[in-house]
Symmetry: C2
Subunit: 585 residues, 2 copies
């Protein structure tokens, strides 16, 4: 697969829209244009030259399972080693434990490129990054010293073990047991499924973070503990000791991400080390899960971005039909696809999503970095936005891959082109780390009411402050084109919030019936804010700035008005969907 | 895969909503409830017992290509023979040529069941049906006698050969040549790609209908001729003669429909027989293509229906989480998924689409049967609706498979369940027989203005007549619940038509920028009419009727309002999408 990193777009966002170096966020002062350009062009080169070229092989060949061993696809090891050699696995990690100490922002941006170029390969170190942060936040000094430098260097990789056959979303049903041995260690037994990177030959050791029950704890989710279960037990000298009692029983045959094994993991009295306190495992796991949800949001966006780039190139190159009212290239046998209005409509829809989503990821990363520095309001906003980014960017990212595939006609359906893979890979992002239905439940059932609704109020205030300030600094045309649509969308959002406040107390099910619509409504408003900010920043007379303003107009006139439909659904009587008897389905 | 035919729903539609036996359509008088029940239950049994059980094997095993021969998946031959033995390949064909002379309607209805149970297998005789009708409409008496009875019995199968590597949508680019030999036959040479069922071992002979150029014809699409190119040349005695110069060069590796081979076909001086007149081939091919487009619409609907049935069963069975405000089944470890509002919302969305789409297929088949009997207005309406059914039912059918897959969580992504297959198979329906973008172009660029706009006016009159008549025969609550939303949607449709009338003359590109939105707008109105009619017919106090009315309400309050968004997009300034320079994409 070919890949071209969006370096110009990233520079525009970092320095003209968000003005990161002047944002006052700790660590951002160093992010001047030269520095970010150097980092991003290097990451882009790695994505283009090392990751993208092995992506198709990863899909077509997939992982092989032989006698408990998983072999990654041809070329993955060399590409992974190049990533490690460049230090990309440690970019924003703690310098005390092997990290480079960059802001989260830089990891997020480089992540989009790596995922767009090769999602299945990125997953190996993406999950490791989450395991690092979980142990960093909740582990002992000894655990940190043992595992974190190895994670940072990519010598060892990490996994996240929640799901069991009877227990997906509902972690209360979890059965895996961790029996104390009396020596401070635990004996872990049970079966976990859907474990990404659970077994492979990329790294010399694999460290599993496993949710399990220690006997005597309360039932349900309150009785879960988190344990470190290494494939090879580390020795005090930091070398590999005995093989632990954990093994891969099978890998799943699945729709996509063939280059990353989805493993059945069997724990048979494996030695485990508790992270944090007994029965408090969910809290530690959530550190990892929140990060994973944002990583999945980035996957949705990145797959959409990769698909758009493919479709744009194809539409410029492939000739079918003629422009109206006259041929664009009369000397050629046919005009390029790009002359057809419906092809342009599709590409502009994707573009408005991808560029808006990219801005949103950066905006969110800035909240994360503020939160990391102790800003409580930023932490609340990041918590509010996490399910929105996960649900919205993956639903729309998947839709973008489908739309891009459509541009290819029949060629999009055969595996000679990368479009089928992009669709099949993107499909998982709507499912894992909590289905998008669960994200909507988290948003409406938890985040909206969190801290008495403070994060939602803070969000509304940010948009309204922007509208006020932008109106003062721009002309009437800018207001009519970019600010009025956003103001209308904010009206829909506030109305929806009021509806939930009204019905939520007496009939929570009525509110939850509109939860997916609310997630999309909030996502649309977020992109509306991003596009208004981008339109304002793109005030030059360059081709880049003109394209930005045209795309912003496209978003405002054709995509943002969907907020009214989402609001109408939220305000609709949910009785039909709540009252149909189960047996009638 | 398991399958349960929608027999109750079909009986409701045929006899209570559309009252087919009293419709006055030629051949419908015999379609009394007993007769249709006998036919449909038999077709349903075949779908359930013979087709569905081999569907997964068809996907997982796929077709094998060995030395020019294609082997269909295990079990396909026996299932196909059962279809043939039951006479299902000949249901609505001409009794003079091996058919059973039933209305198109019955073939459409049984088709949904066969496709839902096993789409890849149904395609073998689905395309044969189209080849039958093309030769029936345009062939000589001798051609009819030679090919039609063999097609009707399923002894031979047919294909449709349009696409070439450089020529997909734009048939003007077609290069395959047919040189007259002077003996009434032609020598056909060229390469065709994406030929479904192009080579296989289900039938003893395969008859290719091939678009080609006879030298001396005009360039572009006006110079195309249609030829019959049999794999084995039939002898005058009706047996198989010499092997013809046509061969399968490869089969495509593709996203889905693995049970049906997508072939590269090489014609090397193959003997061909002209259908109809030279250079008039496109007309004959369109007979086949229009039928194929409706068959594809049915595929989209059927895959959505199959996916909904799977998701409903899973949601009733799988236990995760708890109902609010109190557990539904306190004694069980968790409640079934069906208690969760967002799961119900998803299932109701799918249900409203599937049941509405099924009604629309029947309504359309009734126009086709009227047209077959010489009704010009019905022919115009069918022509108007063909791109709508193809585009709308496949876009939404695919979306339904994705939504259904979502209900399964991670289990929907692995190939142990049929959900990935349903999504992957449904995906092709948006692409082949003219991408859905091409359907939108056909609708707005051609069908809307056909006969001075008569079909569109006839459609609007049908909906308005219904509204008037229904308002007179029902109460205020029925009007507010079911008729007012439809009236609002018709307002959006009329406004969109006016916009196209206004801008279409001066700026056709501006109209085409809204073509996909218009296709969906018209599709939404069609389903609105279907649901209003179903709500009126479902006037009893049975569980079935209550469920119908609840689903109708769900459609009216949550899905039909999308017409306003579609209208807004059509009315939006298309300048941003029309003016972005090609090189900026």
């Amino acid at each position: 697969m070919s890949y071209a990193p969006p370096l110009d777009d990233l520079a525009f966002l970092l320095h003209r829209v968000f003005e990161v170096a002047r944002s006052g966020i700790p660590g951002y002062a160093e992010l001047d244009p030269d520095t970010t350009a150097a980092i991003l062009s290097e990451a882009g080169r790695l994505a283009t030259e090392r990751l993208a070229p092995v992506s198709r092989a990863g899909d077509l060949e997939g992982c092989r399972f032989e006698n408990g061993v998983v072999r990654v696809p041809e070329g993955f090891k060399a590409a992974y080693d190049a990533v490690r050699a460049g230090g990309w696995t440690a970019l924003d990690l703690d310098p005390d434990y092997g990290g480079q100490g960059m802001p989260t922002l830089m990891n997020s941006i480089t992540g989009e490129m790596f995922v767009a170029a090769n999602m299945a390969l990125d997953m190996y170190w993406g999950l490791t990054h989450g395991a690092y942060n979980a142990i960093h936040a909740h582990g002992t000094a000894e655990q940190k010293a043992t595992y974190l430098p190895k994670f940072a260097s990519g010598e060892w990789t990490g996994t996240m073990n929640l799901t069991e056959p009877q227990c997906g979303t509902d972690l209360g049903l979890l059965r895996t047991r961790a029996e104390p041995r009396g020596d401070g260690t635990y004996s872990v037994s049970g079966q976990k499924i859907f474990i990404s990177s659970g077994e492979h030959d990329l790294a010399e050791n694999i460290i599993h973070l496993v949710l399990a029950r220690i006997p005597g704890g309360p039932p349900g989710v309150k009785g879960l503990s988190l344990l470190i279960v290494p494939k090879f037990l580390p020795t005090p000298e930091g070398t590999l000791g005995a093989r632990n009692g954990v093994s891969c029983g099978a890998i799943e045959r699945k729709m996509g991400i063939h280059g990353n094994p989805t493993c059945v993991m069997n724990y048979d009295g494996a030695t485990g080390f508790l992270i944090g306190e007994p029965h408090r495992g969910l809290r530690a796991m959530f550190t990892m899960m929140n990060e994973a949800r944002l990583a999945v949001a980035a996957q949705g966006l990145a797959q959409g971005a990769a698909a758009l780039a493919q479709a744009s190139a194809y539409a410029r190159d492939r000739r079918q039909g003629r422009a109206l009212p006259a041929p664009a290239e009369p000397g050629a046998p046919a005009d390029p696809l790009i002359v057809h209005p419906d092809i342009r409509r599709a590409l502009m829809d994707m573009r408005a999503f991808v560029e808006g989503g990219r801005a949103l990821m950066i905006w969110d990363a800035m909240f994360l970095d503020r939160a990391r520095a102790g800003d409580a309001e930023a932490e609340g906003l990041a918590a509010l936005l996490t399910p929105v980014l996960k649900g919205f960017l993956t639903d729309r990212g998947f839709a973008a891959t489908v739309e891009a595939q459509q541009v290819f006609g029949g060629h999009g359906y055969i595996e000679d082109w990368p479009m089928s893979q992009l669709v099949r890979d993107a499909r998982i992002t709507m499912i894992y780390e909590g289905t998008n239905g669960i994200q909507a439940l988290d948003l409406v059932g938890r985040k909206l009411a969190q801290d008495g609704g403070a994060p939602m109020r803070a969000f509304l205030a940010i948009v309204k402050d922007f509208l006020r300030e932008a109106e003062a600094g721009t002309d009437a045309e800018f207001k009519a084109t970019f600010l009025d649509p956003l103001a209308a969308a904010i009206g829909d959002l506030e109305a929806a919030v009021l509806t939930f406040l009204r019905v939520g107390m007496t009939n929570p099910n009525a509110a939850l019936a509109g939860s997916t619509d609310f997630l999309h409504l909030l996502g649309l408003v977020c992109l509306g804010l991003m596009w208004a900010r981008m339109a304002r920043a793109a005030d030059g007379d360059t081709a880049f700035d003109r394209a930005k303003r045209l795309t912003a107009r496209h978003y405002m006139t054709r995509l943002l008005p969907e907020t009214a439909l989402r609001r109408a659904r939220i305000e609709a009587d949910p009785e039909p969907l709540l009252t149909l008897p189960a047996e009638a389905f």
